[in-house]
C-alpha cells in the first residue's frame, strides 16, 4: 500500500515538473518568436491539474479551458504532439487547426479546450448525460471569470436537476483575465452559486496537491455513485500574466512574491522528501528527466513538417 502511494506521488511529482518545464520552455519559445499567437500558461496551478488528473479513471472525460497545457500533460498527453500543436505543425494534436487554446486529445478523452470563457461547461454536461450510462465521470475546468457567464448558471441548474456525473473544477486564481474577482462579482467564492441548487462544494487550497487529490477523489466517487455534481473550487494563483507577454501590471505589489512561497511544485517536493518518498538527490534526477522530455518535444516540434496549406479545408465536414 505504502509503495503504491509512493509510486503515485512520485508519478504526480514527475507530471508537475514536466508541466512546469514545458510551460517555462513555451514562454522562452514565445519570446524567441519560435511560437506565436495567444498562449496562456498555468505556471503556479500545476497542483490542481495533477491532483484532478490523478483522481480520474482512464475512462473518464475531461474538458479544459483556454489555459489547458497542464490539464492535458497531467493526463498523459504526449508533450511532443502538444508542442507541435502549439507551433501549428502537421504532427500537432489537431494538425495545426487548434493551437494553444483549442487542443484536443480524444484518445485520452481530453475532449476539448476552448477560447470561449465557460464554453466547455455545457459540453461536459452533455458528455456526462451520454457517458454516465457507462459509469464514466466527466470533469470540467473553468475559471472564476466563467462564474459570471450565464452558461455556468444554466449548467448548475441542469447538472443538479438531472444529477449528472460531473465534477465542476473551478480554478479560482483570483483574476478574470485582467481583473480581480472582487471587481466582477459580489460573491466571495464561486462555489456559492451551487448552493441554491443543492450542489455541494469543496473549497480547497489549490496549491496543496494532496488536498486537491482528496477533494477530487471524493467528488469523482460521488459522481460515479450517482450522487450528482460537485463543485471543487481550488484557490490558486497564476504566477505569470494572463497570456504570454502580458506585463500583468494590474497586480498588487508583493502579491506574486507571497504566492511564490506557496509554489505547489516546491511544496509537493518538500512533502515527498519529508515523508521519505524521495531521496534528497532524486528531485534533480526527476527534473532533469522532465527537461529531457521537453527538449525531445521541442526537437520533435522543430523537425515536424508544416501542414500543407491546401489541406486547409480538411475536417470541416466528414
Amino acid at each position: 500500500m505504502a509503495d503504491e502511494t509512493d509510486a503515485l506521488y512520485r508519478d504526480m511529482l514527475q507530471r508537475m515538473l514536466l508541466i512546469r518545464c514545458f510551460e517555462e520552455r513555451v514562454i522562452e519559445l514565445c519570446h524567441r518568436k519560435q511560437l506565436e499567437g495567444l498562449v496562456h500558461v498555468g505556471i503556479g496551478q500545476e497542483g490542481v491539474a495533477v491532483g484532478i488528473a490523478a483522481a480520474l479513471a482512464s475512462g473518464d472525460y475531461l474538458y479544459g479551458t483556454h489555459r489547458s497545457h497542464g490539464h492535458f500533460l497531467a493526463r498523459g498527453t504526449d508533450p511532443g504532439r502538444l508542442m507541435a500543436e502549439l507551433a501549428g505543425k502537421d504532427t500537432g494534436l489537431c494538425r495545426g487547426r487548434g493551437g494553444s487554446m483549442h487542443i484536443v486529445d480524444a484518445d485520452r478523452r481530453l475532449m476539448t479546450a476552448t477560447g470561449i470563457v465557460g464554453g466547455t461547461i455545457p459540453l461536459a454536461l452533455g458528455t456526462a448525460l451520454a457517458a454516465g450510462e457507462n459509469g464514466d465521470v466527466v470533469a470540467v475546468y473553468f475559471g472564476d471569470g466563467a462564474s459570471n457567464t450565464g452558461s455556468l448558471h444554466e449548467c448548475l441548474n441542469m447538472a443538479a436537476l438531472w444529477k449528472l456525473p460531473v465534477v465542476l473544477v473551478c480554478e479560482n486564481n483570483g483574476y478574470a483575465e485582467f481583473t480581480p474577482m472582487s471587481a466582477h462579482t459580489v460573491v466571495s467564492h464561486v462555489s456559492v452559486h451551487g448552493q441554491p441548487y443543492g450542489i455541494p462544494a469543496q473549497i480547497v487550497d489549490g496549491n496543496d496537491t494532496l488536498a486537491v487529490l482528496e477533494a477530487g477523489r471524493a467528488a469523482v466517487a460521488r459522481a460515479r455513485g450517482g450522487g450528482g455534481p460537485t463543485i471543487v473550487e481550488c484557490l490558486t494563483y497564476r504566477l505569470r500574466g494572463h497570456y504570454v507577454g502580458d506585463p500583468a501590471a494590474y497586480r498588487k505589489a508583493g502579491e506574486v512574491a507571497e504566492w511564490r512561497d506557496k509554489d505547489p511544485v516546491r511544496r509537493f517536493t518538500a512533502l515527498l522528501q519529508q515523508r521519505g518518498t524521495l531521496a534528497a538527490n532524486e528531485v534533480e534526477a526527476i527534473e532533469a528527466a522532465a527537461r529531457a522530455r521537453v527538449e525531445d518535444a521541442v526537437s520533435f516540434m522543430t523537425e515536424s513538417p508544416w501542414p500543407a496549406p491546401r489541406s486547409v479545408a480538411d475536417y470541416v465536414y466528414a
Binding site: 484536443v104 455545457p122 459540453l123 458528455t127 475536417y315
Partner: protein, 339 residues
C-alpha cells in the same frame, strides 16, 4: 403511394431512426409533450425519459449539452422551439458545434440534428417569425436542410440524423399541416441534392421551403400566358447543389431566386452571385431576387403579408424580367399585397 402531413413525416422520421439506432436521443423544451406542434408527442411514452429529455429554457447550454453528448457517442436531435430562439444559442452553435471537427483536426465529430421551425404566418411578431437560414449558410461546418413537403420532411430528416456532421434542419411553420403524396416512404435522399419540381424552358425559379408552392402556383399562372417556368426546390441549402441550378440556367438563360427571408444578405445573394459568376455568358437577363424587405416582421396581418413573397409577387417578378406588361388588374407594385 401514401398521403402524409409534413408533421407526420417529421415524427415518423424520428421514430424510425430512434428504433433503428439506440444512440439517437431527443432533447428540447417541452419535447415530452410534443412541443407546440406535437411533433415529438408520444416519443416519451415509447422511448422513455433517458432518450426523450425535457430541458429547461437554456438554449445556449442545451446546444452545448447536445454537442457534448454527440462527442460521447450519442446522436442527439435538439429541438429549438422557434428559430428565433437559436439566437440564444449562437455561441455554442457557432463556436463549438460547427467547429469541433475542424478544431480537433478530425479527432472529433458532432453527429447531431438541430430542428427548428421558422417562417411568417400567424402574426407572432418580430421574435417568432424570422427566417434566419442565411446566417447558418455563412457558418462553415454546419449543414442546412430545408424541406418543402412531407416526403422530404421524412426522408431528409432521416438522412440528417444519419449524417456524421451537425445539420440544422429548418422546417416551415406554414407547411406543418399540409398533406402531400409520399411516393416512397422508405426513400432517404442524399443531402445536397436539389430537385426540379416543374420543368420549363423560359426561365428558372430557384427556391425552397414554402415559396416552392408559391412558385409552382406562379408557374401555372405563367403557363396560361405561354411562359414556361422551371422550378427548382433546393431542399438542402448547405451543401448547395449549384450543378442542378447552373444546368437549368444554361437552358433557360434566366434565373429568379425566391425566398421568404430578408433579401439583403440572404441566400438569394449567394446564389445570384454564383450564377452570374459561372453562367455570365448564358444570361439574357440579370438574375432577379425576391425576398422579404429589410425590416423585422410586424404582427399585423397586413404588414406580415407585405413581407412574404407569394404567387403574385413571383408572377410580377417574372413579368418584370421578361419585360411583359403586368396582367390585367395587377400592377407589379401591388403584387405583394395580393393573396
Amino acid at each position: 403511394m401514401t398521403q402524409m402531413r409534413y408533421v407526420d413525416g417529421l415524427r415518423r422520421a424520428i421514430e424510425l431512426e430512434m428504433e433503428r439506432d439506440q444512440r439517437v436521443i431527443v432533447l428540447g423544451e417541452d419535447v415530452s409533450v410534443g412541443g407546440p406542434f406535437g411533433i415529438t408527442a408520444g416519443l416519451l411514452e415509447r422511448f422513455g425519459d433517458r432518450r426523450v429529455i425535457n430541458t429547461p429554457i437554456s438554449e445556449d447550454s442545451i446546444m452545448g449539452l447536445a454537442t457534448g453528448a454527440a462527442l460521447a457517442g450519442k446522436r442527439p436531435i435538439v429541438e429549438i422551439m422557434f428559430v428565433d430562439f437559436i439566437t440564444l444559442a449562437m455561441s455554442q452553435l457557432v463556436n463549438h458545434t460547427a467547429k469541433l471537427r475542424f478544431m480537433s483536426g478530425g479527432q472529433l465529430n458532432v453527429p447531431m440534428v438541430i430542428r427548428v421551425q421558422q417562417g411568417a404566418g400567424g402574426g407572432w411578431g418580430a421574435h417568432h417569425s424570422q427566417s434566419l437560414e442565411a446566417w447558418f449558410h455563412h457558418v462553415p461546418g454546419l449543414k442546412v436542410v430545408a424541406p418543402s413537403n412531407a416526403a422530404d420532411a421524412l426522408g431528409l430528416l432521416r438522412a440528417a440524423i444519419r449524417d456524421e456532421d451537425p445539420v440544422l434542419f429548418i422546417e416551415h411553420r406554414g407547411l406543418h399541416f399540409r398533406r402531400d403524396e409520399v411516393a416512397d416512404p422508405d426513400a432517404i435522399p442524399e443531402l445536397g441534392t436539389a430537385k426540379i419540381v416543374r420543368a420549363g424552358k423560359d426561365l428558372t425559379i430557384v427556391t425552397y421551403l414554402k415559396p416552392v408552392w408559391d412558385a409552382l402556383a406562379a408557374a401555372a399562372e405563367l403557363a396560361a400566358r405561354g411562359i414556361s417556368a422551371e422550378v427548382i426546390d433546393l431542399r438542402s441549402l448547405s451543401p448547395l447543389d449549384m450543378g442542378t441550378v447552373l444546368r437549368s440556367v444554361e437552358r433557360t438563360s434566366r434565373a429568379l431566386v425566391v425566398h421568404e427571408a430578408v433579401l439583403q444578405g440572404g441566400l438569394g445573394a449567394e446564389i445570384a452571385a454564383r450564377i452570374q459568376e459561372a453562367a455570365f455568358d448564358w444570361l439574357d437577363a440579370p438574375v432577379h431576387r425576391i425576398g422579404a424587405p429589410f425590416a423585422p416582421i410586424a404582427a399585423s396581418p397586413v404588414l406580415e403579408q407585405a413581407f412574404v413573397p407569394n404567387a403574385w409577387t413571383i408572377v410580377a417578378g417574372v413579368e418584370q424580367m421578361l419585360g411583359l406588361a403586368p396582367a390585367a388588374g395587377l400592377r407589379a407594385g401591388d403584387a405583394r399585397h395580393v393573396t
